[in-house]
């Protein structure tokens, strides 16, 4: 069976979506499919450019493929008689992030016009798919709310859960993620102002923009947190990440309405509790407050209290972490299952 994975990529920019796509490709090939990634070069600025991309996707012809798996906007709109979607997310700039400073589509006449056209495109062409799967219940709920479409979540597993290990519970909270306003590392820096214990914070990840990195660094300087907050403002190698997870007190992951949240899975695989927020979306699917981590409102003092709680009681930190690992194992997330569903 020839399978085309239809996705979009900002050329030479690699992130979680690209990694997930490659993992799916590997899993499909392992399953025996003749699979390829077909990626549309994507830009979101200026806003009108989005419409060019939508049109480009509609003019694609993937006749050579027996099955198309659509993953990212607008490539998932490609017409094909045997298309199944595994939707990472809609183009959120046109939905819940519209008008958001970090969202990309401005609340101007042009921005509104492009937003409406993107929504019309989704409404008209998403239902062409034979089945719609999503990355998580969070994405499914947005699809239901915004487009009135039913879908089934297929939760992706970690690529290689075996590489993660659990070490002694250290004195730092680890927060590995791209540094950006939507991931809200600034909230964690603010929280550190209120932390009474000796806990430290380690942020690791490439910055979405140089300005966002500088904003975080400035906040650390302004609050005199230089000796308690470490910012590794670049992608860290996988091995380094595994080690930092293995020695952490806990993991903090406090994005706003995240689609899924691999970080939470990695924390669980390392037997670490995750501190997350009530509005963080995907992470709250895994983190049950007081069982596999701590869920707090997106407020600095509340997060500081959570950090202090785990610092003061390492046994609890360990118990929540082990619970998280057991919970992850019980979910039995496997690529075979995803591939079977997508090729069904």
């Amino acid at each position: 069976m020839r399978v085309a994975i239809a996705t979009a990529q900002v050329p030479f920019v690699r992130g979680g979506a690209e990694i997930l796509t490659e993992r799916l490709l590997g899993a499909l090939r392992e399953h025996g499919a003749e699979a390829e990634i077909v990626a549309l070069p994507f830009r979101w600025h200026p806003p009108q450019k989005l419409l060019d991309h939508v049109l480009a996707a509609r003019l694609w012809r993937l006749d050579e493929a027996d099955r198309v798996i659509g993953m990212k906007f607008p490539a998932y709109l490609v017409p094909h008689p045997d298309k199944v979607l595994w939707l990472m997310h809609q183009h959120r700039s046109a939905y819940d992030l519209f008008g958001d400073r970090a969202g990309g589509l401005p609340d101007t006449a042009d921005g509104r016009a492009v937003r409406d056209a993107v929504r019309r495109a989704d409404d008209a062409w998403l239902p062409e798919a034979r089945r719609i799967h999503t990355l998580s219940p969070v994405v499914s709920e947005r699809l239901r709310r915004d487009n009135g479409l039913a879908s089934t979540p297929l939760l992706p597993p970690l690529a290689d859960a075996a590489v993660f290990r659990a070490g002694p519970y250290g004195d730092y909270v680890f927060a590995p993620s791209r540094l950006s306003a939507t991931k809200r590392q600034g909230l964690l820096v603010e929280a550190m102002r209120h932390v009474r214990s000796g806990a430290r914070l380690v942020l690791a990840g490439a910055a979405a923009t140089p300005a966002e990195l500088e904003t975080l660094r400035a906040a650390v300087r302004r609050h005199g947190l230089g000796d308690r907050v470490t910012i590794l403002g670049h992608w860290i190698p996988e091995r380094e990440k595994v080690e930092l997870l293995a020695g952490a007190l806990a993991v903090a992951f406090v994005p706003r309405d995240e689609d899924y949240g691999y970080v939470t899975l990695e924390a669980a695989a390392s037997a670490r509790a995750t501190i997350t927020c009530t509005d963080s979306g995907g992470p709250t699917l895994f983190v049950r407050d007081g069982e596999t981590g701590l869920v707090r409102p997106p407020e600095p003092r509340a997060l500081a209290e959570a950090i202090d709680t785990l610092m003061a009681d390492r046994a609890t930190a360990a118990r929540l972490g082990v619970n998280a690992r057991d919970h992850l194992a019980a979910l039995d997330l496997r690529w075979e299952h995803i591939v079977e569903e997508l090729l069904r």
Binding site: Q48, L51, L55, D110, A113, V114, W125
Partner: protein, 434 residues
Amino acid sequence: MRIAWFTTYGGRSAIADYSRHVVEALATEHDVELWVPEARGPLRAPVAPIVRFTRNPLALARLHRADAIVYNVGNDIASHRAVLAVAGARPGVVVLHDAVMRHYYGGLVADRTWSPERYLRAVSLHHGPAAAEAVAAARIPGGDLWSAADTWEQAPLFAEAIAGAAGVVVHGAALEARVRAAWAGPVARLDLPAHPRAPLPPPPADEPVVLAGLGGVTANRRIEDVVGVLAARPDLARRVRYVVAGTLADDRYTRALREEIGRAGLGDVVRLAGYVPEAELDELLASAHVFVNLRHPSTEGASASLLAQAQSGRPVIVTDGGSFADVPDDVVLKVPPGDLDALAGALERLVADPGERAGLGAAGRRWAAARTPRAYADGIAAFLTRTAELAPLLALCDRVGRTLAQDDDEDAERSLAAAAAAIATLAGSVCSRG
């Protein structure tokens, strides 16, 4: 909504008067800036912040902040050239005040901005090769292409002025039909607003009956028709005075008119008053019993002078054609073009019957009263919102069309068809409303 309103805003332009009243109404609800081409000299009242953009071209960089741009465009090259130049670079909504734009493009030929060949190519593009041949054949030897008045209707060239626009506003049904036939983008027809004026006192009860004409004195005003009727009917001529107020724009025509008036012994009956500023117009309007507005052929999309006349409560005689054909038959007295007997009959009826004058005048006043700047401002604001929704999609059509036009094979045709279908879906109801 932030609106950049491009318009001529000085001199004797009716478009400047229109902009003054419309922008005044628009500015009560929206954030409007008046972008005017006049680098110096007096302007109409500053009813909104004014940007003299030819004096400060860098100001154009601010246009990206506007939610909507409006370009008021007419046939006079001196008034509209700078506005159309910006319109060509930054798409916006074009208010097409004239149904005929060929004098504008003829002006480009006259000042050598365009070659005659380019002009004929434009005629061929918009009106077909036969029209281009007719225009070329009608060219006066040694003269400018636009001197050939008999090809106005055949090759009006308005489509050149609206190419690439985000939308087009017209003021008459006839022009609307022509624009829709030539252009696929969104079109709105709005009623040209009457300017707010204080009610006029009734005209003097005694004779002579004052016949008045308003607007620039050019051959298409058909003033010679009225002179001809009065010359042939001394009884009628004794009972009237005929005053024409408007710029004496065509020396040759004015000279011929004066000669004819002299030959017919109508020196005491007919007066060419020249340009009358808007501030002094009320006096003239108040003295008139009947307006005669025979403009034919007409280059306008709608007649501002007819509105002012109807608003005065006096009856108006018009030629049945052009934008006057849009006016209901019970509001004005229409006479066929060039039919002097019909014109004489209409004049004799109105001179003889004050009751009919009053009835027709009241109908005209009611017709004009419904056309307010407020209603117009609301109408154009709604249209600007709609075109803003469509603008990125029109730009997309333009990009796709230009790209695919470079190929003429079957694949390109198929892609064009698929692209058209996809863009229609993206446009959704915005497109069907357009």
